[in-house]
Point group: C2
Chain length 226, copies 2
């Protein structure tokens, strides 16, 4: 029937549009993941060139957010999706916000990497940055994997990783305060490392938000603030 | 802004629904504003009771976010709003996220107020907290006023206040580092003040986001990342 196939055609197009924003979201996730890794490397290796690259490329992440946001609003306006499709689109508008903020934190880490590369002093605190950086990068990678597969179980498992990130974060803070007390001349430098560590902890929080959104869209259940 | 001149009964109900989420949003804004003020007072007056109250009441802010979010999704699903109404609803879902994060920062400030109230030491850093706290509270109040009146001009003016907040923030950081260097025994305490100052600066950023959203919904123009 002509009408039927017309309808089918429209539904297929709608599906394609949903798939398109999902692909764009995963691309944005990949970009943000790279920004995070580069910013950590820039700190540990005192590589100001790499840091400058992260700072420059934040713009791309911002543009991705605006583009995907606009695509979501257009889909809602034109397609008037219901139930689970609507939840999916609403989730994407929230997820890109978390990804943008992760990009923002990576840029802040890169800013501190530039300052640290110009400061004299021991590399105290770098061990902690590497350790926490590994935990947080792993958590973000797992959150994005869970997103790609819409895997609630993987999302729940990743949520639990946040407790370890918090422990690593607190332990890093204690170490940094000890360095400062032992050598007050290191204070200014240690505070820059402190901001890096804080940004990493925030990124863990955003990765946690992403996981909660997966549970929300798949189960239709809001587990934030629980 | 919800249009007020519909003749059709169903449309009037729709207007009422839009007005309802706007009212809920303003209530949430008022609650968050109070949480911020109380958390700053708790630090300055070393009032751990007030701090505990802020920590307890964060739950209310979280509940408001979930309720408003659900109301927005229901409106989109049932009413299928177009153009400016859709932009308004989408903006609300973003604004409540910023408000919730402001509430979250206020709770963090309150946590540090509890720790600070138990630590010995001079009240160094409190002058900075009061000063920055005033700037940030003022900025949030102006952002919420601009929201209530959908006043783009007021929103743009409030956006400019962020530059002053950033200056106050940087000056507070410098003072704190000086205190630490002068008296290494104050380091642990000063770092708690440092986190308070950082949270205040973040709240300024969220107030800025709120203003950008007003411009977006009124002008249909995305000025983020500009």
């Amino acid at each position: 029937m002509p009408k039927m196939s017309f309808e089918n055609h429209i539904m297929t197009q709608f599906d394609e549009e949903l798939e398109e924003i999902r692909t764009q979201l995963m691309e944005m996730g990949g970009k943000v993941e790279q920004q995070l890794k580069d910013s950590i490397q820039a700190v540990i290796k005192a590589d100001s060139n790499l840091a400058e690259e992260v700072i420059r490329e934040e713009r791309l992440v911002d543009e991705m957010e605006v583009d995907i946001d606009e695509a979501c609003i257009l889909i809602i306006a034109r397609r008037q999706p219901a139930a689970s499709d609507l939840r999916f689109v609403m989730m994407v508008t929230k997820a890109i916000n978390d990804l943008e903020r992760i990009g923002d934190e990576a840029r802040k880490i890169a800013n501190h990497a530039v300052i640290l590369s110009e400061q004299d002093g021991l590399s105290q605190g770098y061990k902690e940055v590497r350790h926490l950086g590994d935990s947080v990068s792993g958590m973000l990678a797992n959150a994005l994997d869970a997103f790609a597969r819409f895997d609630v179980e993987a999302a729940m498992k990743t949520l639990e990783e946040d407790a370890q990130v918090d422990l690593d974060y607190k332990s890093a803070l204690r170490e940094l305060v000890t360095y400062m007390m032992e050598d007050p001349r290191s204070i200014s430098r240690a505070i820059n490392v402190l901001w890096v560590v804080r940004s990493l902890e925030r990124i863990g929080d955003h990765a946690k938000n992403l996981c909660e959104q997966i549970v929300y869209v798949v189960k239709g259940k809001d587990i934030r603030h629980q």
